[in-house]
Amino acid sequence: MPILEVNNICKTFGHTQVLRHINLSLEKGQALSIIGSSGSGKTTLLRCLNFLERPDQGVIRVNGETLFDADDPSTQSEAAIRRKRLRFGLVFQSFHLFPQYTALENVMLARKLLAAEQPDFKARKREILEEIEAQANLLLSQMGLSNRASNYPHQLSGGQCQRVAIARALALHPDILCFDEPTSALDPELTGEVLRVIRDLAKQNTTMIIVTHEMTFARDVADHVIFMDEGVIVEQGDPAQVFEHPEEERTKQFLSHYKQG
């Protein structure tokens, strides 16, 4: 059974139909790349998965459980959505770290707030907080940021900020981690360090959906590739297949921009 099933998602803003009948599925431990020109609806798709937008139509299932069904209002209550969001993580293009907290505090904040809701929190407070801190430190060291734990975001480079943001998302153990152009806001010399940690995550079989304009990376890291255009999935398949032998005219055209550049 796939870990994620998306059936027939549609989303309209005003008069623009941004997503049209999106269907996709993802197996546990696999990485999916989504490519496509700007405005094709990639961000909107990730925002729907993270419940930042509400699809007009369609169903989202994780591990067989229906998280969202546009026809079933009982799946859409505010309180239920907060819990369901935790199935997904989202790494934003422009990081959105909390500026008043250190790197370590950024990673720990949401975990701490959730832990306080546990019934045994009062009794085991110290132990739980120590656990959270140890885990956050471990994540930062995996991101190569051990010596940056006590720095504030404005003291970090863009690449370092994005790695903190990845650690912050991982701290909640999402089933599926989504990346929205994680290197697009970075200077070219800083993209490498971020792509490297995402590659490492792929090696550890983290289930991921990665929207990116880094074509070589999209091809190497993914088990499956989707090409989107004007809110439609035009073509999808094995990376080697889609990148080497695209079938659709629009895919060929899109990829040709990158081959020349």
Binding site: N50, F92, L97, A110, Y152
Partner: protein, 228 residues
């Protein structure tokens, strides 16, 4: 000069009492206008259009007319026009009327500052919180609030310093604040009459008090300098 030195203890004593009233009005205004301003800010940002329009209209009127006129209207209107002198006579009544006018006026100014502060925190902050499973209230108190405070401290400081000086407007309804106390020595009071220097001397009170405030607010601003 010798005369002034002789009059000094008497004058300072009277001015102190007046300044206490100034201080009281200042503090009461802040205590009332800080929360009321926030409520007005939320009103003007409300998605319920009629509420937001009415709030914005009220703010526009209050900010567009002199505080002195508002003071006069609030003090005299109930008694003269409605035949219902709710403020009563005496110093207490004048203080209540002045407080009401000042709180309302300053709440309208503060509301605009709050609004700017809230809107200047990028939506991405809230979305990052949501995606991390935080509740709306947790996002407000743990993420947005401090960033908002950091942004409103400088404009708030300006308003607070202005308020210190504006309290003197309450002289128009004969509230016995420091200017009133200084002026009383012109007509005659405590055995001193025809002395104009006490009126000018009140400026020293404002200067010293504003100096202290500027220092404190500057320190707060520095404290929030640790992030951007």
């Amino acid at each position: 000069m010798k005369l002034i030195l002789e009059q000094m203890p008497i004058v300072v004593n009277a001015l102190n009492i007046g300044f206490l009233q100034t201080l009281k009005l200042f503090i009461v205004t802040l205590v009332g206008a800080f929360p009321l301003g926030l409520i007005i800010a939320f009103g003007s940002m409300s998605r319920f259009k009629p509420l937001s329009y009415v709030t914005k209209l009220v703010v526009w009127v209050v900010r567009g007319t002199p505080l002195m006129i508002q003071l006069l209207i609030i003090y005299y209107f109930p008694g003269l026009i409605l035949n219902n002198p709710i403020w009563g006579g005496g110093e207490t009544g004048r203080f209540l009327a002045a407080s009401t006018a000042f709180i309302f006026n300053y709440a309208c100014y503060f509301s605009e500052i709050y609004r700017g502060g809230i809107q200047s925190v990028p939506v991405g902050q809230q979305e990052a919180g949501l995606v991390l499973g935080m509740k709306k209230s947790q996002i407000f108190f743990r993420v947005t609030l401090l960033q908002m405070i950091k942004r409103i401290v400088p404009p708030m400081s300006n308003e607070i310093i202005t308020l210190v000086k504006d309290t003197s407007l309450s002289r128009i309804i004969a509230l016995q604040e420091v200017i009133w106390a200084g002026q009383s020595f012109m007509k005659g009071s405590h055995g001193i009459s025809g002395a104009i220097w006490p009126l000018f001397f009140t400026a020293v009170y404002y200067l010293i008090f504003n100096g202290i405030l500027t220092l404190l607010l500057g320190r707060l601003e520095k404290k929030l300098d640790y992030f951007r």
